[in-house]
Symmetry: C2
Subunit: 481 residues, 2 copies
């Protein structure tokens, strides 16, 4: 930072103020005179600061009245089309998501990646590192035997209480004893699927869906049946209904009702209720992955699928990995009528979780700071998502489509003219950029012309330049003949 | 502590000196005169101190020369017989270890247990709590983004280096990249078995074996084939060979070569070598659970089974749960030719482990303090095991047998005349004592007249009284007609 010229350091300072919201759209930058006085700089340096910000697109000069924070110009970009739902889905072939992902991941690891648009989390500075660290340090001091006695079987009691308490917010009434702490949401999903299905069984999933789920299914020998999913309303209930009547061996449906990954949909309450009842009436377990509900930007209260559960048929899974601290592997499961079985599977699989992270997270959630953190995180992500969408609209070729989701960490982008995202992946990797190609999100070839783009990092010049370059790469990829 | 009478506080102080080895067998206690001077107490209090220790069996009075630390009287107790190895084993029936254990565990949990002889770990004060806590506190201070960035995929690098370095000691040459960090040894075993076998396959195990393994097998739908196991030399190679020629679907053999749980055997090197070659020649995966090797009391270097592995056929699993810190869930796996598959399974099952525990454990192991800690832990456990064995010899009915293992946390005790340990479990639980009945260690009924007794806690008066009461309970249990 110190090696940057002074005017660059100062413009970075003001860009940061825009990022954090201290300076809002339409706000006036300090005048040249104020800048000179505030930072003890010459007129020409003050001018350089303003012009650098102007040329980067952060501010615009208005007449003689000064520089103003620019209103982002949402260029026209079309939304995606709704998926076709009235044909029965093919059971996806077992085309080894494992091998394909291993390939993408290994190549990403072995190249010195400078810009990573492929991940699905936010920048470290968007999470409450200090509060969690202090909490851990205090717990280590106050509980001298924390590390040398075995931690509690189901999870740390205060953490489970905090989770149970918070579940009320999304319409779930669960006792702390019904909350079983897991190593992230991914272990919760493993346990849920192991409890309700066995190798060879079929599980219905959203299409596209996150590759982590496809890997879990493959590793357990389960067959994924991909159900068309709308960017607006989530899994197509018509298509699911058709699938249930076509295949008689569907043992579970797994959905992400809030901010589906990668598509960003939020299911309307009416859909959630119908889905819960549809599964219940056919004796099919409904697994709810609710990793992202705390990132939904809404004033209306959200309701978990589980809140419509009358018979213990919904298994609720969640984690704090994306919303509180990516360095913690802290998830939980509320397994309805499979509770005892899931508890035994968890014990046989990894025993209990360590206590320290649970103590810190439990304190943070119970203490009310969690809601303040979430508000701030949602605001930051909102701005970053907008800025990223603007950049895509500006830099990507005509015909690119995306839907701006109501929250979350990423954008799901449809490339025009069926351009292959694997080609984009290859070309981007040569320039040390990582993107998540659509092929990762389905066992079918259906999403090859899609990219998932992370918006978790502050929209820096480097991000802007990366997206511009990515747009050029997409333009240069030839459409298939 | 302060509420105890003064003479009790002082006698506890000297008992502690015996525990820690400051006072050894045959050492003289300070004279009455010295005690009066040292602690500023009256003659009658000094006498009370010595008499309390004498009546608790810690010291004995000799003529007029004073009180001496008592040589434990190893009463005659017979070793167990060797198992019969020349009949082919029955494939154990699927009698739901899960339900049986759930029953034992639930009953243990719901009763206010005062003395827990059923666990398999040492008292908190025998582990280096302070060093680990300091290490964690320092890491939290020095690495501000530790909790808010995702931790490394395979495990924290320094930890994997420390593990790889230490593996040399047991004859294994592994690169840090071949060490994959897991949530305890139990996850390592899950991954190993998932990589080499699928539901319905048969896995050969020692008999008796720890119920955790039987649960893992059951939860994965694998069939356990129990192989007779010697308290001296471990799994019977003759019986295993016979089993391999009788059953053609054995996919893996799982053994604990060092301080087998519960039986305490340590396999001789010749046996280990033959076992490694037997499995290799039949294309059967050999899974080595090496949780306890650091607790073996021996001057001769130990060698892991894995050190005889020429073809990547041995999967090595271990953890620090029993030897470093029961509050950490820190294990690892070195999976030979299944490495890539195990890595993908781990990623799909629980992703990467949190970093903090790995940093603390890695520092501790790399720093040389680990060996000092282990020496002290082995000494303490040795003394406690001796004291427990003495108490069993003293209090249990004639015909009780046990083999004193060469280290570790527990004793495996054979009750006379086929008395049922489940009856002992029930009667002990009514008096708030928990024991591990032999029925937990086999799917056959073969070990119903065995108990596993923990020796991880300092041999206090309460432990002594508990064992005496347990002896009475065993005596009162009627032998089966």
């Amino acid at each position: 930072m110190d090696s940057l010229p002074l005017y660059r350091q100062l413009s970075a300072h003001y860009v940061d103020a825009i990022h954090t919201g201290s300076l809002k759209q339409g706000d006036k930058l300090p005048s040249l005179r104020s800048l000179m006085r505030l930072h003890d700089i010459s007129l020409s340096t003050a001018l350089q600061v303003c012009r650098a910000m102007e040329s980067d697109g952060w501010v615009e000069a208005r007449d003689r009245s000064g520089y103003f924070v620019r209103r982002p110009q949402r260029l026209a970009i079309a939304p995606m089309e709704e998926p076709v739902a009235d044909v029965p889905p093919d059971p996806a072939q077992f085309v080894s998501m494992r091998a394909r992902m291993a390939n993408f991941m290994a190549r990403g690891r072995h190249t010195g990646v400078k810009l990573n648009f492929a991940i699905a989390r936010a920048a470290p500075e968007l999470y409450p590192a200090e509060a969690l660290r202090n909490s851990m340090t205090r717990a280590l001091r106050q509980r001298p035997e924390l590390l040398t006695t075995a931690s509690s079987q189901k999870g740390h009691e205060q953490f489970r209480e905090a989770v149970a308490q918070r579940s009320l917010r999304i319409g779930m009434t669960v006792a702390p004893d019904e909350v079983l702490v897991t190593n992230g949401c991914i272990e919760a999903l493993n346990l849920a699927l192991r409890a309700v299905a066995k190798a060879g069984d079929t599980v219905a999933v959203e299409s596209p869906t996150f590759y982590g789920l496809l890997q879990v299914l493959e590793s357990l020998g389960l067959r994924a049946l991909e159900i068309p999913t709308s960017p607006q309303t989530g899994i197509s209930l018509e298509a699911l209904d058709l699938a249930i009547h076509t295949y008689d061996d569907i043992k579970a449906v797994v959905v992400v009702p809030h901010l589906q990954n990668p598509i960003g949909s939020v299911m309307p309450d009416g859909h959630k209720q119908r889905l819960a009842h549809l599964c219940e009436s056919h004796g099919i377990a409904l697994v709810e992955d609710d990793t992202y509900s705390d990132l939904v930007e809404t004033d209306a209260p959200l309701r978990a699928l589980k809140s419509w559960d009358r018979t213990g048929n919904v298994i609720y899974c969640a984690s704090l990995h994306k919303v509180l601290a990516p360095g913690l592997r802290l998830g939980w499961i509320t397994a309805g009528r499979w509770h005892a079985q899931v508890e035994m599977l968890k014990y046989a699989q990894t025993r209990n979780n360590e206590a320290l992270a649970q103590i810190a997270a439990g304190e943070f959630i119970a203490g009310g700071r969690y809601d303040r953190h979430l508000r701030r995180l949602r605001e930051r992500l909102h701005m970053q998502r907008d800025q990223t969408a603007d950049a895509i609209a500006r830099y990507f070729p005509a015909g690119t489509r995306l839907n701006l989701p109501r929250g979350g960490l990423q954008l799901w982008v449809e490339l025009p003219q069926q351009r292959s995202s694997v080609n984009v992946f290859d070309a981007a990797l040569r320039e040390q950029m990582l993107v998540a190609p659509g092929a990762q999100f389905s066992n079918s070839g259906r999403f090859d012309n899609y990219l998932r783009i992370n918006c978790g990092w502050p929209f820096s010049k480097a991000v802007d330049a990366g997206l511009r370059r990515l747009g050029e790469i997409v333009s240069a990829v030839p459409p298939p003949r």
